[in-house]
């Protein structure tokens, strides 16, 4: 661990760095198998991805799952609300790094930066209006162990105007961050 790590102590929309606690692969040792795992060659510059690329096949599948859940905006939930599900899950699980990235995306796509900041500052019980409250509540129920997601969450999402395809996007987006949060939180730490 580098001596220059300066961990954030609050949730923020600022850009943060991330420092690995174990050894990423050196860039010079990456082979074609690794570059396939990285999906985007530029990710070779990232310590996080050079760590995960130790298991290239899993990283490749994880990355493609992630990209489709969040970036495939054909039909379904608007990108802003997928990012809200990611940010709410990260807030609830306690991943300051993941929350910072996806809170920024939620702000960018929704133009509701103050509401996103309210989620970070006040936590998952912040009042963000019916539709966002339903998305946050569903994300929190899914992130709980044992899983607390139930018919009431579906009912609330429907009352807020979501159809089944959009509800599946909430389920996918929130569930995916239970994957991402655990990697980011346990393999290294954020730094300002």
């Amino acid at each position: 661990m580098s001596a220059t790590v300066n961990p954030p102590v609050v949730f923020t929309q600022d850009e943060l760095g991330w420092v690995s606690w174990i050894d990423p692969l050196p860039e010079a040792e990456l082979t074609e198998r690794h570059f396939n795992g990285l999906v985007d060659r530029a990710r070779a510059k990232s310590e996080y991805f050079r760590l995960l690329v130790r298991d290239p096949e899993v990283l490749e599948a994880r990355t493609k799952t992630d990209k489709d859940i969040f970036y495939n905006v054909a039909d379904g939930l608007p990108r802003a609300e997928r990012e809200l599900a990611a940010a709410a899950t990260s807030r609830y699980n306690g991943c300051i790094y993941c929350a910072s990235v996806h809170a920024r995306f939620a702000s960018t796509y929704s133009k509701r930066r103050d509401d996103v900041q309210k989620l970070l500052d006040e936590g998952v019980n912040a009042d963000l209006g019916e539709r966002w409250n339903a998305v946050v509540k569903a994300s929190v129920a899914l992130a709980s162990t044992p899983i607390a997601f139930g018919p009431d969450n579906i009912k609330e999402l429907r009352s807020a105007g979501l159809d089944d395809a959009e509800i599946v996007d909430v389920i996918n987006g929130a569930s995916f961050f239970n994957w991402a949060n655990r990697l980011m939180l346990s393999l290294g730490e954020p730094s300002k």
């Binding site: 102590v9 489709d68 495939n72 709980s144 997601f149 599946v168 996918n172 994957w179």
Partner: protein
Amino acid sequence: MAPTDLIDKLAGIEPGSALDAIRAKRLQARENAQKSYLSLFEPIDAGDVSLLERAAVAAFVTGLHGESPVATFYRDKLAATTGGAALLEAIDAEIARGQTSGPYGSFPPGPLSVENTAGLIYRVGAASKSALGPRLVAALEHAHLLVFRPRDAASDDMKALLAAGWSNTGIVTVSQLVAFLSFQVRVVSGLRTLAAVNA
């Protein structure tokens, strides 16, 4: 015919159903969730984490989430893995010992400390240690941390895994395994709930 998609199978999604059509709109995600499963449980290289270790951690992690088709699937998988039958008793006992509710844990000292929530710091029971061996003991303790209190994770937890004989690559794979299962069990639960509401 294409091989069965595991999430569809565990969620009870039938070909041609409404949820099948919705999942087809996120085809890359559906196919790569399946590839993630295959890369973890039928890896091209199991040198850093054995198939038995993968199955044991999976049965433990999904069991910690409570009874479900997912937990049953991975318990059966452990039973069917070479050497797995001998671990079932210990894994069942450790699931029972590890049951709690999450997420809990501590934030970095500062304004968020008011949100710190205490909870079980799980350690493998003495009676299970000889059956599991030191590598799996360390892996289960780490898996419990990831499932219930991921925000407590610290660099010392990496040192504990390294000291128990896990390589850097093995730690990445075990972490992906626990994190992927945390995703899979939730997607299945969410889809099952939606299907039940519509039934």
